[in-house]
Symmetry: C2
C-alpha cells in the first residue's frame, strides 16, 4: 500500500503529543498553548445553548451552507469594521478553527515547489498544514519589530516561485513578538509591487496587554492582497472549533469551494452559540478578564525567569498572547533539556519544530496562559536548574 | 495573484448551491440529501447538552486530542464489533463529518496523476474532495449488484498507477443501489491480489428498509485493506459534523497526522453530545423511527413515479438510504429539465455531477428523506409533465 509522497517525513505535532504527558496532575506544564478553561463562560454557554436548541433546534442540528451562519458572519464583519477594515458579511467564511484557514490557504495557493515566505521561527501548525502541499519554505529573520524588510525584499526580487507570504503580526506563536506599526506599513507598501497574497494570521490580537491596538495588515491594505485569518479559540472556546477567513470576493469564493469538499461546513450549533454569546454579552469585557489574568501570569513568569534563569539565556517580553520565547546558549539542545525537565515534572515545547528549514536546537517556548499561578515560580525554578546543569556540563 | 493548479475548473457543488433555491417555501424539493429535521431528537439533545456543559463544561469547550473523545470512540468500536468488525477504540479517528474522511483519504493516498477507482456514478462530494489532489478517475460500470468485477479486474491488471478504490456499497448516493453479498466477497477476494486500499464509505448503511444487514467490506476483510468511513449525519444530526474513520494502526496514524494539520480535532462538545446520546438512549430505536418514515416516503415516491413518469424513464428501487435515481431517454438533458422544473417550483439534482469523467446528461437524483409526504405526489406529477414535454419536443 503506497502513501502519497506528501506523507513522507510527516511527524505528529509536539503540541498535540504533549497533551498526553501534561494530563498527569503532577506535571507543571508550560507546554501547550491552550487558554485557561477557568475563564470559559460555562454558565452563560449552558444557558445560551439551551435557548438555541429549544427555539431553533432543527436549524442548529441540520446541514447548513458552507459559508457559515449569517448572523455570526455579520457580527464578525462588524467587529472587523470597528477595527478599521472595510468588509461585509459576504467576505467572511466561517472555518473549523483558524487551523483550517491555514490548511485551505496552502491548498489554494501552493503547488509542489512553489515557495511560501514565513517568519523565522513561525507557528508549527502552519508549517505542518503547508507541508502537505510540498512547498519550498523561505524563512525571513525577525527582530523585535517583526520580519526584516530588506531580507524580504531581496527574496521577492530574486525568487520567481513565491506564492504566499505568511505572517503573525500580533503576539506571535511561538515568540510572543509583535510587529511595529512602521514594519506593518512597510510590508503593505512592499506588497504593492509584487503580485503575492499575504496571509495574516491574527489569532492572538485580542489577547493584548497594551492600551492601544496596532493596525492590522488588513486595515492598511488598499489593494486587497491580505487574507485575514481570525479565531475564537483564544477569546472564547477552542473546543468549538470556530474561526474565519476574511478576503475579497474573488479569493473567498475559491476558499468556499475548497472548504465545501473538506468538511461541508463548520458545526452550526457552535456558530450559533458564539453568535448568541456575542449578541447577549459584553465580549470585550470577557476578553478584558482573560487579558488581566494572562498578564498577571506573564508577569509572574517573567519575574521568575529573571530571578532563576542562567544569565546566558535570553527571552522575549511579550505584550500579549500566550507565549515567552527562550534562547539558551548555542550548545544547549532544548530536546535534551526537555527530557530532563520531564523527569522533574516540568514541560515546555522545544523550539526546533517552529523552524521549517533551519536547524535551531537551543530555543524553546513557554506558555503562561494556562499555567497555574501558584506553580509558575516553582516550575521555572526547577527548569532553570536543569538548564544550568546543561550549561555547566557544556563547560 | 496565482492560485494552485488544483483550483482550476473548481465549481461549487450543485447540492450546496441548491440550498439557496430550496429555501423558498413554495419549492417542492427532491434536491439536497438532507435528513428530515423533524426526527432529530431535539428535546433529548437539549437535556443532554445542558448536562454535559454543567458537569463537564471546561472539557467540552477546551482543545482536545486529534484522535477524538475516547468514550465516543469506544461506543463506535463496540457498534462496529456487533456488526462483525474486529476493531478497538484505538482504530477509530473522529472526523469532521465523513466528508473529511474523503478529503483525508485523497490526501493520504493520491499524488498528482495517481488513479482512483470509483463506481459510475458516484458521490459528487467524493469527486470534489479527490479532485483537489489531481488524480486520474477510473469509473467502473455498476449493475444492480454493484461494481462490475470483470471490468474492475481488467483495470487493476492493466494500470499501474492505481492507489485507491472508493465504493459506497449500501444505498449508494446517488443511485440508492446496494451491492449483493456475492459482489462484496468478490471485491475482497480480488483485493487480496493487489496492493490497493479500499475506502468503504458506509454513511447510509443504517438507513435500511431491509430486515437484515449485508456484511460490510470491512467485516469481510482479513488483510486489513479496507478503510471504513462512518457518519452520524444520517442517523443523528448532520449539523454537528461528526463522522469517523476506522483503519488499521499503521494507516490510521497517518490519517491522525493529516487531520491534526487540517483542523486540530473535531468539535469536542459535539462528540460528547453523541456519546451521551448513545449512552442514555436506544439508538437503534431512533434509527428505526427514521427508517420507517423514510421507507414510507420512498414508497409514496415510487408509486407516484410509477403512476406519472413517462414509460421511457427507468428508475431504481432502493431498499434504504435517501435517493432514487432516474434515467430519462438519452436525448433528454437533465439540466434543461431542471431549469423548467424550477419554474414549476420542483427541484432535483442533475446526474452529471456524479460522474467524474463520463458525460452523461440524461440522469437525475431524487431525494425522498426530506420530502414533505403530502407534496411528493404533486411534485412528481409536475416533474413528469416537464419531462414529458421534453420527450415530446425531442420527437
Amino acid at each position: 500500500m503506497k502513501f502519497a509522497t506528501r506523507v513522507k517525513g510527516l511527524t505528529p505535532s509536539d503540541i498535540q503529543e504533549m497533551f498526553k504527558v501534561i494530563a498527569k496532575p503532577e506535571v507543571i506544564s508550560f507546554a501547550s498553548g491552550v487558554p485557561d478553561p477557568n475563564i470559559f463562560p460555562v454558565e452563560e454557554i449552558e444557558k445560551i445553548t439551551s435557548q438555541i436548541i429549544n427555539e431553533n433546534g432543527q436549524t442548529a442540528l441540520q446541514y447548513n451552507t458552507t459559508e457559515g451562519y449569517i448572523p455570526l458572519r455579520e457580527k464578525i464583519a462588524s467587529r472587523m469594521k470597528s477595527n478599521g477594515v472595510k468588509t461585509h458579511k459576504e467576505n467572511i467564511l466561517i472555518t473549523t478553527g483558524a487551523q483550517q484557514g491555514l490548511e485551505l490557504s496552502a491548498k489554494l495557493f501552493l503547488d509542489k515547489g512553489d515557495a511560501v515566505i514565513c517568519e523565522s521561527p513561525t507557528y508549527s501548525g502552519a508549517i505542518s498544514a503547508f507541508k502537505s502541499y510540498s512547498p519550498e519554505f523561505i524563512e525571513i529573520t525577525t527582530d523585535k519589530n517583526g520580519m526584516k524588510m530588506d531580507e524580504l525584499k531581496k527574496v521577492l526580487d530574486t525568487k520567481d516561485n513565491i506564492k504566499m507570504i505568511y505572517v503573525i503580526t500580533n503576539f506571535q506563536n511561538p515568540t510572543g513578538k509583535s510587529w511595529s506599526v512602521k514594519r506593518r506599513k512597510e510590508l503593505i507598501s512592499i506588497s504593492e509591487s509584487y503580485d503575492v497574497p499575504i496571509v495574516e494570521d491574527n489569532a492572538y490580537e485580542e489577547i493584548s496587554f497594551r492600551e492601544k491596538k496596532r493596525p492590522t495588515l488588513k486595515s492598511l491594505d488598499k489593494e486587497e492582497k491580505v487574507i485575514y485569518l481570525g479565531s475564537f479559540s483564544k477569546t472564547f472556546c477552542p473546543g468549538l472549533r470556530v474561526g474565519w477567513i476574511e478576503a475579497k470576493d474573488s479569493i473567498l469564493e475559491k476558499y468556499i469551494m475548497l472548504k465545501q469538499s473538506s468538511d461541508m461546513h463548520t458545526n452550526i450549533l457552535a456558530q450559533m452559540q458564539i453568535s448568541k454569546y456575542l449578541e447577549l454579552n459584553d465580549f470585550d469585557a470577557h476578553i478584558a478578564k482573560i487579558n488581566s489574568s494572562y498578564k498577571n501570569r506573564k508577569n509572574i513568569m517573567l519575574e521568575s525567569i529573571k530571578k532563576y534563569f542562567p544569565s546566558s539565556c535570553s527571552y522575549t517580553h511579550p505584550e500579549g498572547g500566550m507565549f515567552i520565547w527562550v534562547e539558551m546558549p548555542e550548545k544547549i539542545n532544548a530536546r535534551k533539556v526537555l527530557d530532563e525537565a520531564l523527569k522533574e515534572n516540568v514541560a515546555f515545547i522545544p523550539g526546533d519544530s517552529f523552524y521549517p528549514n533551519k536547524e535551531v536546537k537551543n530555543t524553546f517556548r513557554l506558555n503562561f496562559s494556562n499555567a497555574d499561578e501558584s506553580k509558575i515560580s516553582k516550575g521555572i525554578e526547577k527548569l532553570s536548574k536543569v538548564i544550568q546543569r546543561f550549561i555547566n556540563d557544556a563547560g
